[in-house]
Assembly symmetry: C2
DNA sequence: AAATAAAGTTAGTCTTGGCTAAAGTTTTTC
DNA sequence: GAAAAACTTTAGCCAAGACTAACTTTATTT
């Protein structure tokens, strides 16, 4: 097991921040025996596996991660804290661009992806306060608190919702601008009322009714990215 | 004379943008025989002279500058255009932070210095429009137009103004946050009415009256950074 | 349980953009 | 106009963070 050797503790570079954020996003909510794999990181970041291995060693030396060669990687507190900060910066900025500068939801991600690394704490807090300290961004994703804690609602993918059960759209995860524009065009905004009327077999498209008005055929893969409140707990009781 | 060899024309890196902006800022308004010197650049950027020489070769190869070893450097159109863009980004952002996010004058520069390199054209235009397309930033510096043109008013340093001639403060150049706070504390804001009552010999401090109210002793070096409308032309006629 | 496939690591290279030390050029000074 | 001072460039080095090619480890198949 690699562990911290001699940390100089400079401010983490943009590259490090990107790795830590990517690791965070790939960590499963349920703890697994294996951490995040080198290959997953390489794919998500469009970087060679060798480069990832190389960087993981440095991140481990600095104490940001636990890295067990061949078995994967998990975040330490210091690493998670940096990841959360990037996500907070990203989501606060996205919210600000939409609310104050007339951006539409599908164009904010690209801008935020770069700027998240360079916004000062002061600027992020001022934007967040100006917006009224929101808890969620325009895609419905929770904004982490300054202390790095984050709301962890149990959400269910729309693909798993029962037929004829009305649900409210709460969150739209990580889609391309084109897909987001399409979703907006069929009325899929946060808060929309959705009823699944039918699902074609073999993970086929869903027939959905939106806001009691329109019917649409929704691709299964898109349904996997749309999230609604999870009711299984209350049902199981 | 070095000139462009084989340009791949990637987007210029942050380092290149910093060099081009620094060259722009060091170019004299009156054309001189010698361009900007390696040493000046090295000092302004806090970088060794050898590193500057090295980078100038690359910038010349890409066609951004004219570089004559030992004689200095001047911007080409492509280089000047990048420099102007950085300055526009910087000044629009500064203005936005002051007007919309409650920053004070003296704290905006640091934030803008980094972010100017990462703001998209779209974002800068939206901030600029939101502000009502201002022509000057909070320090009174002109904001370059999108096409790279910039207003070139003939301004005179306060250090050169005649005694007992009221002038209006139009611009405050490049001071540290501490100095800016001090200047604000003695009423030196853009538009203030100033009268030089006396100047001590040997480039000593100026005795000034601000807004017909208060007298202050102003260090000569600070006076060099404060600019007012130039009237010499009309007087010479 | 051996063979193959998949994933991960090591070794060595490249580019960018810094650095110092030493050598060369231009300008200034006496 | 020669020596000194100031400035500039060259040469060689380094760290960060990418890459490819080759090798090792783990997982899967038969």
């Amino acid at each position: 097991m690699r562990t911290r050797k001699n940390s100089t503790k400079n401010a983490p570079s943009r590259a490090w921040e990107d790795y830590l954020k990517a690791i965070y996003k790939l960590e499963k909510p349920e703890p697994t025996d294996k951490g995040v794999q080198t290959k997953e990181l390489a794919e998500r970041m469009s970087i060679s596996q060798a480069s990832v291995t190389n960087m993981l060693k440095k991140l481990a030396d600095e104490g940001y991660i636990q890295y067990e060669p061949y078995y994967g990687v998990t975040l330490n507190d210091s690493g998670r804290s940096i990841a959360m900060k990037m996500i907070r910066n990203h989501r606060v900025l996205e919210s600000y661009l939409v609310e104050r500068l007339g951006y539409s939801w599908d164009e904010v991600d690209e801008e935020a992806e770069t700027l998240e690394h360079f916004l000062s704490d002061k600027l992020v807090e001022r934007m967040w306060n100006d917006l009224g300290q929101p808890t969620h961004d325009p895609h419905g994703s929770p904004i982490p608190n300054i202390d790095g804690t984050i709301e962890r609602k149990n959400l269910t993918s729309l693909a798993e919702v029962k037929l004829d059960t009305p649900v409210m759209l709460e969150r739209i995860k990580n889609r391309s601008p084109e897909e987001l524009r399409y979703l907006a065009s069929i009325g899929m905004h946060i808060g929309a009322k959705i009823v699944i009327k039918n699902q074609a077999p073999f993970n086929g498209p869903l027939l959905i009714e939106v806001d009691d008005q329109h019917f649409h055929a929704l691709d299964y893969r898109m349904a996997l990215a749309l999230f609604v409140e999870d009711n299984t707990d209350s049902i199981n009781h």
